[in-house]
Symmetry: D2
């Protein structure tokens, strides 16, 4: 079977490089277009990219000549790692031209007709793409993955919400510097330091996106859940991996910590999200060691696609406290988008 | 006026060294005794200590011969930096022999007749020492300062609790490695990593001690406050400074962020705690910059005795979110004890 | 073909755990004995080890009951990760009992009848084991790998020495904290800091071992080379990977940087060291990027068995300057020993 | 006595901020002009600077309106913290207009008629300013301080060179990230990593500037010394402080390590450099502890103006090995320039 030609938008950036690495040997997709900013058009990718992945850049990809951010014949799917401002301009143009844009950008995440997906949690939301196409007159479309913190947070909350109903969640995040891209956070700001702030309305995004993902599909698009979410964000001197400490309250009687752990440990995710090329064996792993998960030791589980949950314990103020950890660049960015792209193929969105 | 001769218990440890530095030139106190474990008795302090403070060890202190952990004639006050297990044995013996032990150890902090003090917040609790002496037949006594996180946390909460009444607080701590003493946290555990756990029942201490400090003096000792406190602790790759992110709920109508900030900025602390040698000009400073306080940049305010509060903002789940920062070894340990000792002198506890 | 049963001495330590990971799925070896200190004998490995490797501990190994440090019937080879002091007692006992001890300990490295091996460089030195057996009346033996810095340093120097003859080398090392084992370097000592000293006569070891490896086999054992080596060591806040900057002088006319690079890039190592299970495709890789090798980015080449050389440039004082990088726990410790064990099997040392 | 009005060129940068802090309460100098790039002219300094010093920015300086980089009436001395490219344009214009420019920029350091000063080492070189004025028709002039590594390196070598005559020095540098300014080194590049390269011809600068400082004043300007210097540079994850490990060879019989230490410990520097406001009590301190100096523990000696030397020991290849440490932003940049400015005043260079 021949592989599906795909584009990468923003191919030289940090997320773009991750896309290149994840797609270089992908069983379903084949990199056919690498697009970048105007001054790089026509140049060899290998000459322009400051490659920072630990595995070498494959020669056949290094040799690709970069294009502008415009659709190319035969490419029906694009993985987008561009900034929100650029996404706002470029992604609709691709969608209008019939390309399915699978984006990591935040630009359209909160539009009610844009699916904001964690496939294991809300694969069914992908159906809103039909409304999106009708609303906007697009033949392609836009599918988004959430913010890097939300990717782990909503995953861990989902089984608990479905089984017991959440009333509120307060979460403190300890976020790695790779979440800010490259060059990103200056070393003088973060060596031996904590910054209790992250730009781009990070705290608001965490609240809004978590509620959208745990929301429901309706005839007017995705309707966000209404439980309360409050985030307190911190940048920490860690390279990769966002660790979250949360206190949650249930609508009714809460589960015991043991019951909550059992529920999370058994979580397999939505049927349609199982067995895709990027699906981890287990979307959630529960840790019983008292000092785990830890950012450096646990982020690579499931090739960076597994969320680790630990330290489930009662909370004196709400009901339960727990720690969640996810790889911010894999489950929280490029890996999430690739899984979304795989879901879209499996759901037949490319067949028109 | 001649200075008061004092002892330091556990003089070679991390907190003990801070005591030496803070007391070396103290206007009221004079180091008369340095006590350590048995194998060091009779040896020169300068030869035994692995001095880690940035200022040089004064020669006249380096020359002191160390004693066992037993009272010495003429020494009526002892600053204790020993571990809880040793404190449990040694401190009562000193107290019984007429020495006022000002301790950083956790051993007796939660005893109802032991004052657990942040002088600016609850200087009046020192009066419980009279009950302690009666209860225990001591002529000296034990006065404790709180856990390093509580030192900043209870300071920041106190003005808000008094003015508006707190119902609950959820706090995530990002704690420096110096809080674990020396050698403490192995570098292999914490370089580029986050550990969401701290031994010694840290989370329980934070809850219990905060409530005791904000409690009231009664004829049966200190009665803890009853609001809810839930802590989620993390060790982070930072040398000094504990940063706390908190979400708080009030019993009644909450203040606006602006009103809360104004209240904290005007806080001068209890009358008796002002103007002591170690009192900072301001117990609390309020930061308006959106990305402050930061662990490395803000811990030395007020010579490490000032707590910095910032990022006051509404909370979707409770009422307000805020960030607090304190120097864990100064305001959170040795400096706190020295201030407690000064308060005890000013309150006449050494005059019998 | 059935696998060779092997023991691991010091199985719970940092190097011991690496042995477990490297041998868990080894094509030639099978872990048959895990030995540890007396208080652990009879206990389950999985219960006693504080597993720190990123890949999970296999169940069938976790279930092994630990033994004392004494030979067990049927085990003819032992990989040793114990400290030098213990090695001095234990390893001869194993060797006397017929076990071939492949050790990472420094205890016997400089004995003239103990082969100190980097197989690609001096595989032929393994023949000295016959002298060792005669000298000591052993039926087993001891084979050592070098110090973690020497593993990279001697590898990089060897092709240059053979082709052009070295007169002297001055080397500054920047060594990761994992080189000190666990708990090893306290975080308070190394966070944001450099320590220009490493205990255990590190500088002397680097000089002596490098010269022994580049020495020659004679009828009186290994005769060290006589060129000058001067090391200046530093501990740096890096987890894994020792980076070395060297200035070297040749006996005669020096090669150009280009010629030196070409020589290193073509180096394939001794015939007998090629194609062993742990042999990397290339023992040395030459980097042309001006800011490489870097500790974090380049240590995993060849599964941690490849030494990366870069920044070859003229030296105003000697002849050439260059940078070398090796993985201190793989090529510099456990991986080196496993490769030595493989060489020993291939050379028929177990067949008696 | 009224203070001398001075300008700071590049006042918002990292070195510029250090100038502001060091000059804010200077006994001889008064900040009269803060100049910055065009878009900031006329704006309040306090509004434009992203103040990163730990001490607060004084209000009276925050209120200064910034000027363009052009001389202002009455300002006869300017401290320059601009980049080399800007320095090349701006500094001659000031010098031509009668301003004495005391610069940290590298632009003119190697001109034979520009004094490159470490006052304790070569204060007499300041006399070349007369040649400079004649050569260039300037009424002001340019005085430079060396590269941040050279500031410590040449200081430590100078007494040894004068007493025994140096033949060669090989030095490995471990340089803090603050040496690259702000934002400077991205955290993703340096967290847990070593980069064996620093841009801007750092290695060449170290060689050339060290030789110029240890050179001699002649009628044709400064004549550099001719001994060999070879540098191998590394960026390390440390905030402040450049640590250097050197191996040195003497022209004749070398001193013992003890004699070398004694010489360095007694070094008081040139007569004219003593007792200036920024002169440290001792330009060099010798450490006897085997693991010192360390970057974090020893950089603040003498308010950052003292160079610490330790680990003096024989070298198998050359004669002696030693470690040197200096504060890269104080002794290596702003503090060095302020001391140069003080020397210029004391030498009467402002009186015309």
């Amino acid at each position: 079977m021949s592989r599906i030609p795909v584009a990468i938008l923003g191919a030289t950036g940090a997320v773009g490089q991750k896309f290149v690495r994840l797609l270089a040997d992908h069983p379903w997709f084949e990199i056919a277009q690498l697009s970048a900013s105007a001054e790089r058009v026509g140049k060899r990718y290998g000459d322009e990219v400051r490659w920072r992945e630990l595995t070498p850049l494959p020669d056949h990809i290094a040799d690709i000549k970069m294009t502008a951010m415009t659709p190319v014949d035969g490419v029906k799917m694009a993985f987008s790692g561009v900034d929100a401002a650029i996404a706002r301009e470029v992604e609709p143009a691709f969608a209008h031209a019939g390309v399915l844009v699978v984006t990591n950008a935040s630009a359209f995440r909160m539009e009610s007709d844009v699916p904001l997906l964690i496939p294991e949690v809300n694969a069914n939301h992908i159906q809103v793409i039909e409304q999106q196409r009708r609303n906007r007159g697009w033949t392609g479309g836009i599918i988004a993955n959430p913010n890097c913190c939300v990717a782990a947070f909503a995953m861990g909350l989902a089984p608990l919400d479905r089984a017991f109903g959440l009333q509120s969640a307060i979460v403190a995040t300890l976020q790695a510097t790779s979440g800010a891209g490259y060059p990103g956070v200056p070393s003088l700001d973060i060596l031996g330091n904590i910054i209790p702030y992250i730009g781009g309305n990070e705290e608001e995004k965490i609240a809004a996106e978590t509620k959208k993902i745990l929301g429901t599909l309706s005839s007017e698009g995705i309707r966000s859940s209404t439980f309360g979410v409050s985030a307190m964000v911190h940048r920490v001197p860690v390279l990769d991996g966002h660790l979250l400490s949360a206190s949650i309250r249930f609508l009714g009687a809460p589960p015991t910590p043991e019951a909550a752990n059992a529920l999370l440990g058994e979580f397999t995710g939505e049927e349609s999200a199982r067995g895709l090329p990027s699906s981890p064996a287990r979307p959630i792993e529960v840790e019983s060691r008292i000092d785990r998960p830890q950012s450096r030791l646990d982020i690579d589980r499931g090739n960076g696609m597994t969320v680790t949950v630990g330290r489930m314990r009662p909370c004196e103020v709400q009901h339960l406290r727990l720690v969640l950890l996810g790889h911010n660049l894999i489950r929280g960015a490029a890996g999430a988008a690739v899984l979304n792209g795989e879901l879209a193929v499996q759901q037949g969105l490319l067949e028109r």
